[in-house]
Amino acid sequence: MDALFGDEQRDLQRTVRDLLTREDPGPAVWQRLCGELGLTGITVGERHGGAGATTVELGIVLAELGRALTPVPFLQTAVAATVLDRSDAPPAAEVLPALVAGGLVAGLATPAPPTRWPTGSGPALTGVLDNVVDGPHLDLLLTPAVVDGAAVLVAVRTDAPGVTRTTLPTLDRSRPQARFALRGAPAVEIGDAASASRATDLLLAAVAVESAGAARFCLDTTLAHLRTREQFGRPLGTFQALQHRCADLAVLVESAWATARHAMWAADADPAGAAVSAPLAKAYCADAFRTVAGEMIQLHGGIGFTWEHPAHRYFKRATSTDLLFGGRAWVRSVVAERAGLPAVR
């Protein structure tokens, strides 16, 4: 998949892929991902019980989960664990061991402009956080907020008084959402404005790499179909009209992976660069995934339109990826702003 990976990275990829193709998606997979393999804590320092790896390794795991579309709150929990570990605020030591063990599920609010952040004075927070991914599962919610006039990153326990959670029915059934209404909810500050920004960037990079993995699965599955399905007395894959479309999809898949892996590398290794590469990767990979998933349906013909075939699940995941996490227009405007380009909105 990636010639720049070393042996350990390839082993990690194989281990996760084997697990996800062997196990039925469900609580057992979550237990094995967390408890047995310790992957929610893959980036967490050893002092907090983690594996001490970098965000590059986290990206490898996320790409595999995207590939399998495994409906577990891994992305959110692993991103939150990374944010807490890198922030090193006092709450980190408290919650990280539980996050690493899978006993606690955490996640970030879906990115939004500061005007939509919750506000508060002291520890009490008010506001609405909508479309929070994996919201129904979250025990701990991280969000940027404006507290006493200053932008900060805070953590809110979802079982605290003043927190009302509403589970939302979703088009993408592999990615549950909830709305959180906060009315004077108790919040703990875990970072400043810069930490809040970095946390959001890591979430965007993580979503990008998950999309890149999913897009590759869509192409692989489509190619397998075109090699075997025969019409007009020959495999569909022999038709040049279809070959050329697949070549364009391959370019999208390769370039999305390269862009996402760079963003995951930058998350730990080049924080200044990550401010651009993360939103850029999210915008590019979500768009690429949506294109490839749509072509997966078309190139499968009628079977691709059935509920039974997995194509629609990837198409819906691609849609939610593109529309959530701030959406396409917002994330592109962030790239333009940070790259010093003319404003697009």
Binding site: R227, H244, A247, E254, H262, D270, R332
Partner: protein, 393 residues
Amino acid sequence: MDPRFDDADEAFRREVAGWLVRELGGEFAELVDAGGPGREHEHVEARKAWERRLGRDGWIGLGWPEADGGRGLSWQRQVIFHEEYARAGAPGRVGHIGEQLLGPTLLMFGTPGQKAHFLPGILDGTQLWCQGYSEPGAGSDLAAVSTRAELRADGWHVDGQKVWTSLATEADRCFVLARTEPGSTRHRGLSYLLVPMRQPGVDVRPIVQLTGTSEFNEVFFDDARAPAEDVVGAPGEGWKVAMGTLAVERGVSTFGQQMGFAREFERVLAAARAGGAADDPVIADRLLDSWMQLQVLRHTAVMTLGAPAGSTPGTEANVAKLMWAPWHRRLGELAVDVLGAAGTVTAGPEVDELTPAQRLYLFTRADTIYGGSDEVQRTVIAQRMLGLPRGPA
């Protein structure tokens, strides 16, 4: 910060940049941004002198083995040289066909005698080469080559016509793919010959392109001669050698090319700001797309071209071409679109008096055709990288 380079590499970068600043600040100052695709007619003699200066100071053959006169530098340092070269606006090369295509082919397939005879002239910038592959009847279908050559007692006799030959008017020699086995077809019976250009049997006629300029030429061989020993690889094995030439281009120059793209983008952006087009949300969106795609090109090149040789399917160059060529063409469209009506007015009354934006706009129509059209790239990617089966012939 850049994941590709270490501190010693960055020191090398400063050395390269320092040399370029020094040389381009003096007698070669007129060459900044001169030449290159769409501008090959500019300052040709000065650019040939520039080649010799590059050679004198050891900047040609950076990646070639030291035993063959090169410097044996790492992939990273070669990339750095190309990046700094483009960043400095150093002129379009006239010796690159020898350095990047013929030289590596000789290193791979040449005899010790051929290497000793031809490599020094490439390394010191005195011998220029052109490539004789395409023909009127063999464009995308290169194996349809019909130029013929016959080995007689006094050497090779070559007859036929090549086309789209860059820099043929300046080149001292041409590497020619010719049919040497009468009656052979397709990939069999071809030989890779090294033919001197300055002889009565060779006639070069510039092709006037839709840009009004002539970077490409037709080359006619009418009983042209080449010494018997100037065949690379065995006679009849020329296809293998020619394909080897394409495969050795692992793309260190890609990063220099991207640096050049970044400079072009900055100019388009500056024009959009100066003329007010940047305030148009549709133009702003296209500028953003262009800039994002340029970063994506770079990340993709870092991933695929940085991989150890043999570790990838060998189709990275096809993916890269299918990405950059359409990107560059869209940038050309943007370059005139940001000017609006003013983009339709040329710099003067002659057909080749184009503005830089117009030149970019028009010349980039060639990008998606030469070096394997987009359509050929798609077929190669589908069949060799994705393993889709060939259709009925």
